[in-house]
């Protein structure tokens, strides 16, 4: 079957790194990603079914993988070769449309009894992602056994599947997984928060803004969003951000919104106060430093964007007694923030529908044009786009 497969090849890794450094997403052609004809994945264990992807999104972590800029942290928790693609809406063989929850927790790995995290509904924190009857792989899309969404078929455990309601089209359904990630971040905003700053307005940033404005529970009073591109700013406003600014305007915007004093003679060196919570949906050195500069003493920084290896002065974290927390994947929202007590994916379906997040899907490509698709995804903001996905629905092989 046709699939985009990521292989372990050091020369190709090096080539991807060089090409990706020249222009984001350019690692697709010379790198370890190949359009290949491979055997369909199969896991010989109870509860596993075939899923034929309809749409499969391209996310930031995929782009880092393609350009070989991902953190080496992931090396032991992936298995090669693998088929990327973890934002998937697809069909089961009986025609049921499903969205994939890609984390491969204890249930998918055949580990019984499950670890206490999985038992508690926090599958994203599973303690066994390299164990059980599957090869290592923190998610579908990074595990050699399961395949991934950038292909004609993958295999998934029933614990990973969520039926798509009939009223939700594919374009909306493919946004459910990234929306769940955003909800995970928004869920870490404590009740009673006043001002929340959201850095980044790609899919994760925009979905985070939507979450902060639509989730059940006590929501922050003010959301200030930093968005680089005009289309992103327009989306951010329409999704409910109270104030939308360009990234280098964020400190001034947060200062104005919070009524804070600032250090600096007219220019802002740092804020004396700041946002109660800052959600970094980019995860770069620059954005993390910015988050540290605009979060009020005693406040919280939530990392939703995948950071990788960064060089940041953590003195403000110490001096201002900030909390730095990660927000990865999904589970059951159990903090006192928005959506508490409910499964993240369940909330994500509701949010995608309520906020009309299907409109964030900007373009789709067939697998054959994977290099164009990845280049588009890597430059989505600049090109006025948000989410780019592969459209498998018209692949001849799939419909045979």
């Amino acid at each position: 079957m046709k699939a985009l497969r990521f292989e372990r090849s050091l020369p190709r890794f090096a080539a991807a790194r060089v090409a990706g450094a020249l222009a984001p997403g350019r690692g697709a052609r010379p790198g370890p990603l190949r359009l290949a004809d491979i055997d369909p994945p199969f896991v010989d264990a109870p509860g596993w079914v075939r899923v034929r992807p309809r749409l499969a999104g391209i996310c930031g972590s995929d782009l880092a993988t393609v350009d070989a800029t991902s953190s080496r942290w992931f090396e032991p928790v992936v298995s090669f070769p693998f088929v990327p693609g973890h934002e998937v809406v697809g069909d089961l063989d009986d025609g049921t449309r499903v969205v994939l929850q890609p984390v491969l927790g204890c249930a998918a790995r055949g580990i019984d009894p499950p670890c206490d995290r999985c038992a508690g509904g926090q599958v994203g924190q599973c303690l066994n992602i390299t164990f059980g009857h599957l090869e290592p792989g923190l998610q579908t899309g990074y595990c050699t056994d399961t395949g991934g969404g950038w292909s004609i078929a993958l295999t998934a455990h029933h614990s990973q599947l969520h039926r798509v309601p009939d009223d939700l089209d594919d374009e909306a359904a493919v946004l459910v997984e990234p929306t769940a990630c955003a909800i995970r971040g928004a869920g870490k905003v404590p009740a009673g928060a006043g001002v929340v700053a959201v850095i980044g307005a790609g899919t994760l940033g925009l979905a985070t803004i939507a979450a902060l404005r639509h989730l059940p529970g006590e929501l922050p009073t003010t959301v200030v969003a930093a968005a680089k591109h005009p289309e992103q700013r327009s989306f951010a406003r329409s999704l409910g951000a109270d104030l939308v600014v360009e990234p280098d305007e964020l400190a001034r915007a947060v200062r104005r919104t919070t009524g804070s004093m600032a250090v600096g003679d007219g220019s802002i060196d740092r804020l004396a106060g700041g946002a109660d919570v800052t959600i970094d949906c980019v995860g770069s050195e620059a954005t993390l430093a910015q988050a540290l500069a605009v979060t009020a003493p005693g406040g919280r920084i939530v990392l939703v964007g995948m950071p990788g290896q960064v060089d940041v002065d953590l003195t403000p974290l110490w001096q201002r007694e900030l909390e730095l927390v990660g927000a990865y994947a999904y589970g059951t929202e159990r903090h006192d923030g928005p959506g508490a007590g409910r499964p993240t994916f369940e909330l994500a379906f509701d949010l995608v529908r309520a906020a009309g997040l299907g409109r964030l899907l900007s373009a789709t490509y067939p697998l054959d044009r994977y290099a164009d698709a990845i280049a588009h995804a890597a430059e989505a903001g600049r090109r006025g786009a948000v989410k780019i996905a592969f459209d498998l629905r018209n692949e001849r092989e799939r419909n045979r």
Partner: protein, 544 residues
């Protein structure tokens, strides 16, 4: 045109060739290219045949003996006793003076303020007055630096008073040093500097660069607080001032006059000193800027070429430093002292004598070349908000009768309009530009939704009081200054500006003047009438 001010004792003027009045030139095929100021640079533009160019009058004669004229003004004031008769030992005397926003460009030393203040202090010393304070009446402007204060009042005065805390900047946010004097009949709060209010005599030293300056506005604005200023520095006032350069049709002035009456009724004694300047604005080698192009000598042409090619090679910062170092040769044409309204009537006539140019009829399109300086970027950066204010606030309002541009017409400004701000001087401008104008450019909406939060922002307040920042609300006033023009015109186009900054202002960017004129036709139709306002030097159009 108003009659010239009567000649007063000690006011003999330097005799020479009579200055030629301002006039309107109709462009024909033989008209040379026209000079447009363009920030820290210039452009030569060919205006379409049939366009009109309004030229200012030449510099009127200056006083032959300014010190003597000042002394005579103090000894023979209008509507009040001579100054010496009002001075006595043990009294509290406060001398307030205009701040760094006047004159433009700053004048060569000795500054008029120094001359006047030294004369007042001499009389005070003769009378045995030893409780004297000098206050820079800056309202919500930024504080003056030591160098600026020294330039304005002179080293002798500065060294005698500043080290003892007797020469200082007015602080409109110091609750301990403000006094609510009363309310006008319309309920406007009149709050001014406490020292000034409690003085036995307040001497106010003005430089009346334009007809808006002086009168009751000096004290009621220059020494007041936000609480008081907001009653006339607002959109409604600006939209009802036609124009704010014409005292008799200016709601801005009406409000200040009401406040002046409250001050007078409360017993505040003001000895008003107003001075006027000629329009000799640019020193060599930039003096070609105030000549008519067809009269440029070979040296002027060489100076123009050298200046433009030299400027082309400079960074923005270098250009700015060069231009901000310009000290104008303009000098005093008159000085009058005494009762505020009587003084101001004479001064205004004197300003008009230099600046008024009769113009017949309005135009569909008015073009303006904006220079590097406005009242609020002395030693600073002309940011986009100040560009808008200079063009649509000041130049647009330099009229009596009707605006130069017809209702629904187009104003074309020429200025680089960089997306650049002086963070120390204009911190709240940055936020205004980034957040407020990104949301709306409607002055009414802006006033309603944003003004209070900027005016009461503690950080801006801190920077205004302790650093050199304009007050948090100041960018709003700049935008309100444009309100009459924004209501009147159909479109605003900026030639040669940063397109992003121009769009943020709500205006349309054009690369060249011909492009701008073509774009203007979308608003005013084909073959529009065009008038170019050839300033600075400043003039005021008397439009019939």
């Amino acid at each position: 045109m108003s009659p010239p001010a009567p000649r007063r004792p000690g006011h003999e003027v330097v005799q020479g060739r009579a200055p030629r009045p301002g006039f309107v030139l109709e462009v024909d095929r033989s008209t040379p290219s026209t000079l447009f100021h363009h920030g820290e640079g210039f452009r030569l533009e060919r205006l379409p045949v049939g366009s009109r160019i309004v030229y200012p009058s030449e510099a009127v004669p200056v006083l032959r003996h300014p010190e003597e004229a000042i002394r005579q003004a103090l000894l023979q004031p209008v509507g009040q006793d001579p100054l010496p008769a009002q001075l006595f030992p043990g009294m509290k005397l406060t001398i307030a003076f205009d701040d760094v926003s006047l004159p433009l460009p700053k004048m060569r030393r000795p500054d008029i303020r120094q001359r006047v203040i030294e004369a007042v202090l001499d009389l005070a010393a003769e009378a045995g007055v030893d409780d004297v304070h000098l206050i820079a009446a800056l309202a919500l402007h930024r504080r003056m630096t030591e160098a600026e204060l020294r330039h304005a009042v002179g080293d002798r005065v500065y060294d005698a008073f500043a080290p003892h805390g007797l020469l200082y900047n007015h602080d409109a946010e110091d609750p301990d040093n403000l006094t609510l004097v009363g309310h006008t009949e319309l309920g406007e709060e009149v709050e001014i500097n406490k020292r000034a209010a409690e003085s036995d005599l307040l001497v106010y030293v003005n430089i009346n660069l334009v007809s808006m300056d002086g009168g009751h506005k000096s004290t009621a604005t220059g020494l007041s607080s936000y609480r008081s200023l907001r009653h006339h520095h607002n959109v409604k006032t600006m939209q009802h001032s036609r124009s704010f350069m014409d005292q008799h049709r200016s709601e801005l002035h009406s409000s200040n006059w009401r406040m002046g009456k409250v001050l007078r009724d409360a017993g505040l004694k003001v000895f008003q000193i107003e001075t006027t300047l000629n329009n000799d604005t640019f020193p060599k080698p930039f003096d070609f800027l105030q000549k008519r192009e067809w009269e440029w000598s070979a040296r002027d042409r060489m100076a123009f070429v050298a200046a433009t090619s030299g400027l082309d090679r400079m960074s923005n910062r270098m250009k700015r430093n060069l231009f901000q170092s310009i000290e104008a040769p303009h000098d005093m044409t008159g000085v009058v002292a005494g009762e505020i309204e009587a003084v101001h009537a004479i001064t205004t006539a004197k300003v008009f004598e230099q600046q008024l140019v009769p113009v017949s009829g309005q135009a569909d399109v008015v073009t303006m070349g904006l220079p590097y300086i406005s009242p609020y970027n002395v030693h600073s950066i002309m940011n986009p908000i100040l560009v808008a204010c200079l063009g649509l606030g000041y130049f647009f309002n330099m009229y009596r009768g009707k605006p130069l541009v017809r209702e629904g017409g187009v104003v074309i400004l020429s200025h680089p309009t960089p997306w650049e701000f002086h963070p120390v001087h204009h911190p709240s401008y940055i936020d205004f530009f980034e957040q407020v104008l990104a949301d709306t450019t409607d002055p009414v909406e802006i006033e309603k939704r944003y003004e209070a939060s900027f005016a009461e922002d503690e950080w801006y307040r801190h920077l205004y009081r302790t650093s050199y920042a304009y007050h948090g609300v100041h960018p709003f006033y700049m935008w309100y200054w444009c309100a009459h023009a924004l209501q009147h015109v159909g479109a605003v186009i900026i030639v040669g500006g940063d397109p992003r900054a121009v769009r943020r202002l709500g205006f349309r960017p054009a690369s060249t003047l011909p492009d701008a004129l073509e774009m203007a036709e979308d608003t005013v139709g084909r073959d529009p009438s065009i008038t170019h306002t050839h300033a600075p030097p400043l003039y005021m159009a008397d439009v019939s």
